[in-house]
């Protein structure tokens, strides 16, 4: 199975690990991520204003490019996923936005959100299956106590993202179980990491991250995984005394035995 793949800017710079191990693991699991040739910025932040069209356009271009190839669009960065999925939802449901976008892009037939957007984790859950993943694991991470850190982007708003239960998500825990480790459930796994506030007020991000780390540690976690480059940054850089944090793809590659080869 081949998917159109939208890496996004961070995965080409600070978040290379998320990208490299994600692709290597995909091959090991029998699917290919085909990078869209001329992808542009996802828009970075989902525009809350209904009449803000221009920032939606780059997402639409990626969505249409995947659609032309008849492929689903897969993302890894949770911020990109959030923006692209919500823009796609706008084009599916909002006639005004659909018309305006069609006029901006001079489309003969308006794009109405036909492309499916899937996060890499959703591909693992819905297309590959965690049971199949479990069978393909060659180095099970037995004995490791891993806390899943979800952040906000993948989960909310639940009605649009349709990713998992925003208050009691299980997809990362199921993933951790599949790679042979022990998931540690802690309440703050879906709390805010501080997000972009770190630029203006590092102290706030530290307060958030410390609370997350303390909670995870007290519940028995020895390391954390995430799917979000910004979360990873905050958890790593702003914690007073943090646990080790990694992208989930790194552990996936490790379990599948492709970590060293990919590097």
């Amino acid at each position: 199975m081949t998917y159109s793949y939208f890496p996004g800017c961070t995965l080409k710079t600070k978040g290379k690990d998320l990208d490299i191990w994600g692709r290597a693991s995909a091959e090991a699991l029998g699917f290919t991520l085909e990078e869209l040739p001329d992808w542009q910025c996802c828009g970075a932040v989902y525009p809350m204003a209904k009449d803000e069209i221009a920032t939606r356009l780059s997402s639409v271009r990626a969505l249409m490019a995947a659609g032309e190839k008849g492929q689903d669009l897969v993302t890894l960065c949770s911020a990109c996923h959030h923006v692209i999925k919500r823009v796609n939802n706008d084009l599916r449901t909002d006639e005004t936005i659909r018309d305006k976008v069609a006029r901006y892009l001079k489309l003969e037939t308006p794009y109405a959100g036909e492309t499916n957007v899937r996060h890499y984790l959703e591909v693992l859950r819905d297309k590959i299956g965690f049971d199949v993943l479990k069978e393909k694991v060659v180095n099970p991470l037995t004995g490791r106590k891993i806390g899943a850190y979800y952040g906000c982007m993948l989960l909310r708003p639940a009605s649009e993202m349709g990713f998992d239960d925003p208050e009691n998500p299980t997809i990362l825990e199921d993933f951790i179980r599949a790679i042979g480790a022990e998931p540690v459930i802690y309440a703050r796994r879906n709390e805010c990491c501080g997000g972009y506030c770190t630029i203006k007020d590092k102290g706030f991000a530290t307060k958030q991250v410390d609370a997350i780390m303390e909670n995870a540690r007290n519940c028995g976690a020895e390391e954390l995984i995430t799917a979000c480059p910004l979360c990873l940054y905050n958890l790593k850089e702003n914690a007073t005394d943090g646990l080790p944090v990694a992208y989930f793809t790194e552990l996936l590659a490790e379990a599948l035995g492709v970590k060293e080869a990919a590097k």
Binding site: S159, D165, E167, N168, Y186, A187, E191, N218
Partner: protein, 662 residues
């Protein structure tokens, strides 16, 4: 041609302020067949009614059109008026120029024009009216109450008191419902069991009441006065007539790890059980999901220890058929599941409990013997946070849009009892609004705040984090405009209440209507609050909407009064506006039978005279006028136009439309 009289009502200023009533009467006087037309300030008053009666005699009227309020309001009044004057009551037509005209329009000219048009339509219809006579049907003098909670028990007791037989069908092994699980009741703080259990015993001992416990209604046929109901008596694997309720089996059963539903899973019971000491009937029941004997055929301990020989592993579900004149729905409520609300960590910590669980933890007959202990470690909690409106008043899809009504009061009760029994506890209540209308209710809440020092905080809890044996509560204090962080030992969630899951399939069986939240709909929200729109079906308790105990009991007695009124009659007068098929046009297609929500239509093979003195056997529709409610669904469904509704025939409707379009 009918001789029609037109009577235009002012309804004080309700109609007259927006509609030129004089002009309406004047214009309608010129309509064909109208021999008299007038207007009057209050047509429904004694003087107005007398005027109508005098006019009927004076002008020899054969039809009457009244331009007034909705027929729902006064159609019956005017029918009776005309009947007294010797006119068939179904020769009266109402033109609704209030709700459908004066109340919704501002411009007098347009409203007057519309009132004239509505009047014209009614006149066109009355020309085609035919006198109708009501038939009667007999009444079976026995009532069925579905649900044996406090609502069902009260209804049954009242009906029995009036001398009629009543059956209670309860799906659990005991009657008593939710109230059996409650510790104290607001606002008097008297013990729930002390006021409920005597009623349960009364019901059991009453000769007129028969209790079908551990039973469900499996089918309902028939109509008001004459329902035929099948009751499924689920196999409890214990012979009710032999079991003495000694409870020995429930002590000896080796299967000890069954979550105790009566204590909401806070402790365990055996596979054979009596829900609680005061259960009625006090008979053991085997939980087939856990019984080793039923699952693998190996065990049989309960049978060995039972001195009465009551255990019967071969028992099967039994079906009982019974006829009833009236059915009362008293299926009650349940707290919602809290799966969607894990911000309060309900699935993560045993110390986060629902209010009903908390009720069991405070109850002397509960898992902790009435001492408030944390489920996680059995320690005494020192800080307790109550969260109100969990799932109530929600604008999103995961919760309920309505106020669950009882939570503010029981939370005040819980908070007060905590402070009274354990003065060393700190108690917080987070609320959106405190809603305590009701006799002595607000005083009760204020006592919790002022005398018992409960910290009431306006604002909601955003997150509960279980950590190191504490529950870290993060909340907003809207009045103090600050974020609060409380290290609590227990968090109690006031979960929204919803109708019992059995209500929806039951409503389908009864053809009783429900609202979007699955509460049963009443026939009129103000004037007929305990009747369902379906004749012969009555509503008791929380199945109709969230209610506390006093309201439930009041409604239960009201429903009983309505049932007694019905059962007191030997015959019921049927609505004569029923469907009637033209057998010559009917092609026997069954379309009408399929759409009839009341099961009033059946098919018969009937002989008809064919050409050349032959006989033809044809399948034709027949309507049971006692069951037909006159909804008209069949008249629309009939492809050959054979089905017609008396009093609302296709011709009459078309005449109205023609008059409006003229």
């Amino acid at each position: 041609m009918q001789r029609v009289g037109v009577f235009v009502c002012w309804c004080g200023s309700n109609i007259a302020a927006t509609v030129d009533v004089e002009k309406v009467a004047e214009v309608l006087a010129k309509e064909p067949g109208v021999v008299f037309s007038t207007n009057y300030q209050y047509m429904c008053s004694q003087a107005g009614q007398e005027m109508i009666q005098e006019s009927i005699a004076k002008y020899n009227l054969t039809g009457v059109v009244i331009c007034s309020c909705s027929p729902r309001m006064h159609e019956n009044t005017f029918r009776k008026t005309c009947e007294k004057a010797g006119l068939n009551p179904y020769m009266v037509e109402i033109a609704n120029i209030r709700e459908q005209c004066s109340w919704i329009h501002k411009d007098k000219e347009t409203a007057t024009e519309k009132a004239v048009i509505l009047g014209r339509a009614a006149i066109a219809k009355v020309h085609l009216n035919a006198p109708l006579t009501s038939g009667t049907s007999p009444v079976k003098k026995r009532a069925l109450v579905i649900g044996g909670g406090i609502a069902g028990i009260q209804t049954a007791l009242d009906i029995a008191d009036a001398g009629f037989d009543v059956d209670i069908v309860e799906k659990e092994p005991t009657i008593g419902g939710k109230m059996t699980q409650i510790d104290k009741t607001f606002p008097t703080l008297d013990c729930a069991a002390c006021i409920l259990t005597p009623k349960m015993v009364d019901a059991a001992q009453n000769e007129k009441i028969h209790i079908y416990s551990y039973s469900e209604v499996s089918s309902v046929k028939g109509f008001v006065g004459n329902f035929k109901v099948t009751i499924k008596k689920k196999a409890r694997y214990v012979d009710e007539t032999k079991c003495t309720g000694c409870g020995l089996c429930t002590e000896k059963c080796p299967q000890k790890k069954v979550p105790n539903a009566f204590n909401l899973g806070l402790d365990n019971r055996r596979a054979i059980y009596i829900p609680f000491a005061q259960a009625v009937p006090k008979v053991a029941t085997i939980d087939a999901d856990y019984c080793t004997m039923l699952k693998s055929g190996k065990c049989g301990v309960c049978s060995k220890v039972c001195t009465a020989g009551a255990i019967d592993y071969t028992q099967k579900d039994a079906f009982i058929e019974q006829e009833y004149g009236a059915i009362v729905v008293a299926t009650g409520f349940n707290p919602i599941k809290l799966d969607q609300y894990d911000e309060f960590a309900y699935s993560q910590s045993p110390d986060v409990v629902t209010s009903l669980e908390f009720e069991r933890l405070m109850n002397a007959a509960g898992p902790t013997g009435g001492t408030l202990l944390r489920p996680s470690d059995g320690q005494h909690p020192h800080t307790i946070v109550f969260v109100q409106c969990v799932g109530s008043r929600c604008d999103d899809s995961k919760g309920k849009p309505y106020c669950s009504k009882i939570c503010c009061m029981y939370t005040a009760k819980h908070a007060m009892l905590c402070r009274e029994k354990y003065p060393d506890t700190d108690v917080y209540v987070f609320y959106i609004d405190v809603r305590t209308p009701g006799k002595n209710f607000d005083e009760f809440y204020r006592r919790a705040v002022e005398e018992y020092g409960v910290h009431y905080v306006k604002g909601m809890v955003g997150k509960v984090v279980p950590e190191n044996g504490k529950l870290k509560v993060q909340a907003s204090d809207l009045i103090g405009n600050q974020q609060l962080h409380i290290d609590a030992d227990m968090v109690v969630l006031a979960a929204a209440i919803e109708p019992d899951k059995s209500a929806r399939p039951l409503a389908t069986m009864l053809t009783a209507s429900m609202d979007t939240n699955d509460f049963f709909t009443e026939a009129h929200p103000k004037l007929r609050p305990v009747e369902s729109p379906t004749a012969g079906i009555f509503l008791s308790g929380a199945c109709q909407g969230p209610k506390d105990i006093p309201e439930t009991v009041a409604q239960a007695s009201a429903a009983a009064a309505k049932v007694i009124g019905l059962l007191n009659k030997d015959h019921l007068v049927c609505n004569p506006c029923t469907a009637q098929p033209d057998e010559l046009m009917c092609n026997g297609c069954s379309s009408c039978e399929k759409v009839c929500p009341y099961g009033a239509i059946t098919y018969v093979d009937k002989e008809f005279r064919g050409p050349n003195r032959t006989t033809l056997l044809r399948r034709v529709a027949q309507v049971n006028p006692a069951v037909c409610q006159g909804c008209g669904a069949c008249t629309v469904a009939c492809p050959s136009g054979a089905m017609d509704l008396k009093g609302f025939s296709n011709k009459q409707i078309m005449a109205e439309v023609d008059a409006i379009c003229r």
